[in-house]
Symmetry: C2
Subunit: 342 residues, 2 copies
């Protein structure tokens, strides 16, 4: 049982040494594996460690030359979004396998907060950074500003930055999803998506347009709703679409939030007595639970955020543990899977 009840300062290596009747160095050696320390002395030291509830001060350790902090900084847009939660989980999983801990911050899509987070992370001596960027600005992310700390971008890319990135096949996935709707005979296909400034939103719109073009169609302004970042506004956008004189017979949704919003609006109408047959078919990015119970046909463009996180972490750790300056930034584009949910 530890003692020192009452105090709230961590014991130091010196106090342990004192208690064990040895020098601080002997304690240090014992704690680093016990090379060149007599077993009985190690015993004494470890007992003192237990008795005092001693933990090595990692911050002090990381001050020593050559020592690494064991920290990876992760900045994502929103921890509460299960997509990014799973992404972070993937990063953490791989980081842990390599003896690293992650330190997380949510940017809330705010570029200023992103700058502060990154700066703080550097100040805490992170060995590397994983970032889902929120803006287009790049100057705070240059290799110099980061003091040479390796950076990996995930989900979204940035122009003018030579770093490793992990992206999804946004364009291809969106085109494939749209084609499913076209193949089902739809020609009035609406688009629901993020703000234009969001990298993935732009790419997914491009895929949608491309698939339409293949069939000689082009996007109609009144059927394109961009700029919804949350479920509530996606619901409103869907309402507007369905209230059109000639409503779309299908909707392509660029992400989870928009898909859920569209379905909620449809649910509202169904409960209000509208016919299922009046509801549009749906295809959209990102899987969600219980999709198989939806009352309208739903096609999912599925992918694994956790795997995205793992890949990002792998790229980063390759720079850390294998080859710091492994040439130019690599970009990995992860495949997606088209799934009929119901």
């Amino acid at each position: 049982m530890p003692e020192r009840t009452g105090s709230n300062k961590q014991p130091t290596i010196r106090e342990v040494a004192l208690r064990a009747g040895v020098s601080p160095m002997t304690v240090s050696r014992t704690l680093s594996g016990g090379e060149s320390v007599r077993p009985d002395v190690q015993e004494k030291v470890l007992r003192a460690v237990r008795e005092l509830g001693y933990h090595r001060n990692e911050n002090a350790r990381s001050l020593r030359p050559g020592h690494r902090s064991g920290l990876i900084g992760v900045a994502i847009t929103n921890l509460g979004n299960p997509y990014y939660g799973n992404f972070a989980l993937g990063v953490e999983e791989v980081a842990a396998q390599h003896g690293r801990r992650i330190i997380i911050g949510s940017t809330g899509e705010d570029p200023l907060r992103e700058r502060q987070l990154v700066s703080d992370f550097i100040g805490r001596q992170v060995e590397g950074l994983v970032l889902v960027p929120s803006g287009e600005s790049v100057d705070h992310l240059s290799a110099d500003r980061l003091g040479g700390v390796p950076l990996v971008l995930a989900s979204r890319s940035l122009e003018g930055l030579d770093v490793d990135s992990v992206l999804l096949d946004d364009v291809g996935g969106a085109a494939d999803g749209t084609r499913v709707l076209l193949d089902a005979g739809h020609t009035r296909i609406a688009f629901l998506g993020n703000a234009r400034s969001v990298f993935t939103g732009e790419r997914r719109f491009e895929g949608y347009v491309r698939a339409l073009a293949e069939r000689g169609l082009s996007p109609r302004d009144e059927l394109v709703e961009r700029g919804q970042q949350d479920v509530a506004s996606a619901e409103v956008a869907t309402r507007r679409l369905l209230d059109l004189e000639h409503p779309p017979t299908a909707i392509f949704s660029a992400n989870n939030r928009n898909t859920i919003g569209a379905l909620r609006e449809m649910g509202r109408r169904l409960r209000a007595g509208e016919s299922v047959d009046a509801m549009p078919a749906l295809a959209g990015f990102d899987a969600f639970e219980l999709a198989e119970l939806m009352p309208v046909p739903v096609t999912i463009i599925d992918h694994d955020p956790q795997e995205l996180g793992r890949q990002a972490a792998r790229l980063l750790l390759a720079r850390l543990d294998v080859d710091r300056a492994a040439g130019h930034g690599k970009t990995i584009e992860m495949p997606v899977r088209i799934v009929a949910a119901n």
Copy 2:
């Protein structure tokens, strides 16, 4: 534009001082607000800081006596679970308001991993800990072992530990939810829940039993399925229930994972042609998206994980910033809300 291209070591305060032609102290003072430094000198210093891409080494700072690390350790069971993601978001939000950063680890319900995480956090000089405990063991969480670092438990409590806790009204919520089913005329009500060892699982079962008892009923062994921690096993358990000779006419589910599992199994049966009328009604803990679109009546025992996180952080920060030894551990029990989803 920063220089030092190529090097990957962070510049130190000394290098900045050299470049600005001042002493390290002047740099330090400038960076801490600029008291007692001539404006033109500050100018020079800040320019050097920019040019070198300098960031203060927080680890070295936190070594100084009296200085605090600004880190809160958060250990949850699973970052990928949106419930805990939102919880962490709530903690982060309040922590950020008080100038703290969070460092996160997932325990995966593994007590050993929890020990390691907590130990690592202490080693990194966290000012406080927020923990969703995974086991029943307590010895690694005593005030002594934590070196006096304040701890707040969330969601689950532990016997024999005098610390602040934030819990839900598990018993009352489960009783209320069960009563909704009883009021609808059901008497064969099944229970789906976690392993007995999970604190919330036990409490929610207690609420279920209590509500039954009020109507002179008692739980029937064949209608109680405990031990499902994920959707897949909840599906299997539901299948077993529905295959009984006298299947339950309603199900009470103790958490999100079990609710989703039950619904998936029902969806399977519906797609296989079974009648909606043959499906049990459902009441369960934890909200989930699109509940309003479910084909059977669903009652939700709703609560806000993010608010749970905020409360946990507030309790912790009160100890940190207001009164470290604010008497015995407080337990806050957060209310829940019964909602008819559809």
